[in-house]
């Protein structure tokens, strides 16, 4: 600091080069933005007109009317089905993810090749787009809630496996070492060392996955014709926006409730 102040010439070039870098950064950003807009046919003025238009339109049309309220029981029924589907997909994916995470964590797996294969599997499943799962299962299982469940299951599996690997790496290393030193077998180490250490974090991730899956279920449902996503798309495509908006409102309510319950539970189980 001192040398910078006394050597004003040095400070000058330092600031200058910093400014040049900043300038180049913004030039790059603008160039990339311009290129992206050209590639996607994005007219920036449209976005400025669209936002107020949509807000006005939302205020006028997206308020549920009497007719849509008579559909509420049906909507809630589908929403309930979607919540169950999300829970089932998250929990069953977690059950499969745990052994994979044990193999993929450096803490609980001493075979390098096994560790890297497990991590590879997790990464592979995590990055296959959920759309691909949904579309394949639509082809093989047909249009049904079960198809939605399977698509969510595979999308959750990769995500949870990776989250669990990180959780084990972070929290279980020390106890595992102690149990190994005491002469514990592999089973002892997993059940007495790893599991009690990471269980709260794993449950926390599963709760997070349930929240995420309820939102993903809307997407999967649109594609596979199941659950709340399908309900929304029926009203949306037939231009019954009041009913569609009721669907959105119920989703928001359920997600907020589940989020609040999850946060409460997280505090209780720690």
């Amino acid at each position: 600091m001192n040398s910078l102040l006394t050597n004003s010439e040095g400070a000058g070039t330092y600031l200058k080069s910093k400014r040049i870098r900043l300038f180049l950064f913004f030039v790059g950003l603008f160039a990339a933005a311009a290129l992206s807009m050209a590639a996607t046919n994005y007219h920036i003025e449209d976005s400025f007109t669209a936002i107020p238009k949509v807000i006005v339109w939302m205020a006028r049309n997206l308020v549920p009317d009497g007719k849509s309220l008579t559909r509420l029981p049906k909507i809630l029924d589908k929403l309930f089905e979607t919540v169950l589907m999300s829970v089932a997909a998250s929990v069953s994916a977690a059950a499969l993810s745990f052994p994979v995470a044990l193999a993929g964590s450096a803490t609980s797996c001493k075979q390098r090749w096994l560790m890297y294969s497990a991590r590879g599997v997790a990464s592979f499943f995590r990055n296959i787009p959920i759309v691909a799962w949904a579309m394949i299962f639509l082809l093989t299982f047909g249009q049904s809630p079960f198809t939605g469940y399977v698509a969510l299951f595979f999308a959750s599996f990769g995500f949870l496996a990776r989250a669990f690997i990180e959780a084990i790496d972070e929290t279980a290393a020390a106890p595992v070492e102690a149990l190994r030193a005491a002469g514990g077998s592999y089973g002892h180490i997993i059940f007495q060392g790893v599991l009690p250490s990471v269980l709260p974090q794993m449950v926390s991730w599963v709760l997070y996955m349930i929240e995420t899956n309820i939102r993903s279920a809307a997407l999967v449902g649109l594609l596979t014709g199941s659950g709340i996503g399908f309900t929304f798309s029926i009203y949306y495509k037939s231009l019954q926006y009041q009913s569609a908006s009721l669907v959105v409102i119920t989703i928001v309510a359920v997600v907020l409730v589940i989020e609040a319950v999850s946060n409460k539970l997280r505090r209780l189980i720690l």
């Binding site: 807009m37 996607t40 976005s47 995590r126 093989t140 047909g142 449950v203 926390s204 991730w205 997407l219």
Partner: protein
């Protein structure tokens, strides 16, 4: 001195004293397991033969992985040209990346602004909590529905897609940015305030510059997520790009091998980005806890 607790019936020493956290943990696990079993038993398969369909899925999956192949005409290439098809597919991929980029850029700018007001140490509690609750509601609406809602006003296309995808981006980044602002040493802000700096100077001269590397890492992490979101929006909300091609290959042409080809392209991009994001997380010790 506390005595050992013995089982009343057998007189055996108890090792585990029932603690409330253990009880809640058991309760949560039990309830989740029960819901799962109930759902799996009662779920409607619409009469699909699960065994046969599973076998078929495995077969398709194998076909996807081992024999990926694109059909030129699906990519708008008329005469043969494997290379042309490949470049056309790359172009589609580029469109998806561009959607993700624009979303991240616009969302990031808005989030930077809101993030300053959401940081507890830079504004008062009321404003910060107000922004946070508002964003919780915004986040509760699935992205695909945001896009479809904006499509009513702007028509299906890139504008609706980018605006719709921006909502979750903003919500995520405001949380990330404001948390990194909140980590700034209170003393630094105090010192600047004492030396007569006003609020704007503090924010622009101290707060943002000192968390710039976090801001950039989080923004990149969100870009990675937005790529996956843009693929999905291409398929489900007509946003175009590689996601739309995927939707067409599966839902219109029923071409499993083409699904494989497209999946590989998407995987390649997302694996590269995941690798970069992981490196950034390690470098800046970022944990994305649930």
């Amino acid at each position: 001195m506390t005595a050992l607790i013995r089982n009343r019936r057998t007189g055996k020493i108890r090792v585990r004293k029932t603690q409330s956290s253990n009880l809640y943990m058991r309760g949560v696990l039990l309830v989740l397991a029960a819901i799962t079993v109930y759902t799996l038993v009662t779920i409607d398969t619409k009469g699909a033969d699960i065994a046969a369909a599973s076998a078929k899925t495995a077969e398709y999956f194998w076909l996807m992985l081992t024999q990926p192949k694109a059909v030129p005409s699906h990519f708008g290439i008329q005469d043969g040209g494997g290379i042309g098809t490949f470049f056309s597919a790359l172009h589609m991929l580029g469109i998806t990346l561009a959607l993700a980029f624009l979303t991240t850029l616009f969302g990031g700018i808005v989030a930077l602004f809101l993030g300053v007001f959401a940081a507890g140490n830079l504004t008062n509690k009321k404003v910060s909590n107000g922004i946070k609750s508002f964003l919780a509601v915004v986040r509760a609406v699935p992205t695909v529905l945001w896009v479809l809602i904006f499509a009513i006003g702007a028509g299906l296309g890139s504008v609706a897609a980018v605006i719709g995808m921006s909502f979750h981006t903003i919500s995520h980044l405001v949380k990330a940015y404001s948390e990194s602002f909140e980590e700034i040493d209170e003393g630094v802000i105090e010192a600047l305030r004492a030396s007569g700096a006003n609020w704007f100077q503090i924010v622009f001269q101290a707060v943002i510059p000192s968390s710039v590397s976090y801001i950039l890492s989080w923004t990149f992490i969100r870009f990675e997520i937005n790529f996956a979101v843009a693929v999905a929006m291409g398929a489900a909300a007509g946003a175009g790009g590689i996601g739309f091609q995927l939707f067409m290959a599966a839902g219109y042409f029923f071409d499993i091998r083409e699904i494989g080809f497209i999946t590989y392209l998407i995987l390649a991009v997302s694996l590269i980005m995941e690798y970069l994001a992981t490196r950034l997380k390690e470098k800046y010790h970022i944990h994305n806890g649930a």
